[in-house]
Amino acid sequence: MSRTETGARKGASPRPKNKLARANDRVLILMTLPAVILYSLFYLYPTINNLRYSLTKWDGFGEPEFVGLNNFSRMLTDDTIFNKVLSNNIEFTFLVVIFQTAFSLLFAIFLLKNSRSATFLRTLYFFPTIISSVSVAMVWQFLYEPNLGPINVFLKSIGWDFLALNWLGSETVTLRAIAFTQVWFHVGQMMVVYIAGLQQIPAELYEAAEVDGATRWQQFKAVTWPMALPTTAVVMAYTTIQSFRAFDLVYSMTQGGPNNSSSILVTLIYLTAFNEFRFGYAATQSIFLVVFILAITALQRRILRTRY
């Protein structure tokens, strides 16, 4: 083994010992440059620029006018639409995370053992994941159609007229109807994540539990749930971020309507900027969203790590 390369091994030596290792490092850093430049210029820089825009009143075309922290104070104290959308987003995220996590775990348990039917159903449940949000939105718009849509026609045919709601046109149910679609859309994807996690649980644990005469429910409580907690943490974190990103779905289904009742923060940012031409204010909302997500992610990690 060449001594020079041992120095370049990760962890093999605390510091590069010689010229070759340092020269190699320089090449390695050079290899990251195209990515660093593209990402910094076209993604990071535009995001950080929000800080600058947020201090201005700007229609996106003319000269931005400096207004100090006005946007922030208005957003936090005196904007009923922003408040409404923020609480929409919290409800949406909460519903999606709870139901998507619960159902993906349930179906993962149901389909854990490899069999022909299990493989087929996994393929089927995963299927919506590959379709575009816009297509999914079109399909569900049809299914939810209040008069002729299949859902309401079915509900009326079994006499449940009281449940035949105006799914995408009512201020009370639209957000939940979209949350349902979101769960339908991604439950199969998270189920696959769970299956991978559950298959790591040693079979002996279940055998031991069975010897002790544990029921299915007891086995779930004593073995599956505690052993699957790391996977649950991953699923919940991913689903949370996914729910904050549901721009395509919400925008294509309702554009946040009626009366902002189904708007979430990402759609609000878009509409504030490109429908109302209030770019400075939209930048302020963007900063809020970034801080909010980072806070939620940190909180989630803390809860899931410290407790288990």
Partner: protein
Amino acid sequence: MFYKISRIFALTFLAVLIIIPVLVVVFGSFKTDLELMTKPLALPENWTLNNYRTLLDGGEIVTNFRNSSIVTLFSVLITLFISSLASFGIARVINVTGRVLFVLFSLGLAIPAATSIIGIYELFVRFNLTNTLHGLVVINVASTLPISIFILTAFFRQIPNELYESASIDGARPFRLYRSIALPLSKPSMAAVAIFLFVITWNDLLYPLLLITQADLKTLPLALLDYRGEYAINFSMIFTAVMVASVPMVVMYLSMQKTFVSGLTAGAVKG
């Protein structure tokens, strides 16, 4: 007993919940709009290709399909190349830069794309990149680098050092090690990332909506929204367009299921 019954009930319920919308769309694209509205679940009485003919005669969908193909192909290939280079560098570099860069890219993972649209729009207007397909490629590459680098770096870190060492004796330098050892070994990971990128780029609405207004440059998801307006909620036509837009992904999914599933869950598992 209770478990078995509820299991079968739940499995059937979700299966129906997915199969029915699929059938409604597939059958609907071969029906008249009236028939779709009155009997959404039935087989078409007369299988007609009229919807497809009308759509193709319009010609726009062919252009949209071409735009989506160009943008997706170039975005995926460029992202794969740049991100694999960078991931190799990040995984192998021994000073602190690797960790700093990794954190820098990880930042892009948690933040929703919508929070950067104002800055992106301003920048692209300034560089004359709006209403261009290459502009779309640029933003797709920049925005998918974090997730690609995240997955690939994790993979490159798993390659045992011994493999590199044997080549290093022959004096191979980083780029040679990347090309002749890391890349060949990472084929399954690269395929998974490629599929992941394919799906999100082909299906993306946000960036085309932000940057493209010219009809002949629109991609499929953006065009679908237009069709909805144009055909005044004529769902059989809309479903025909949905079929055209979904065919490539469906064909790929059915022929490469394993890669699809691992690709679309890799980000989550490693996150």
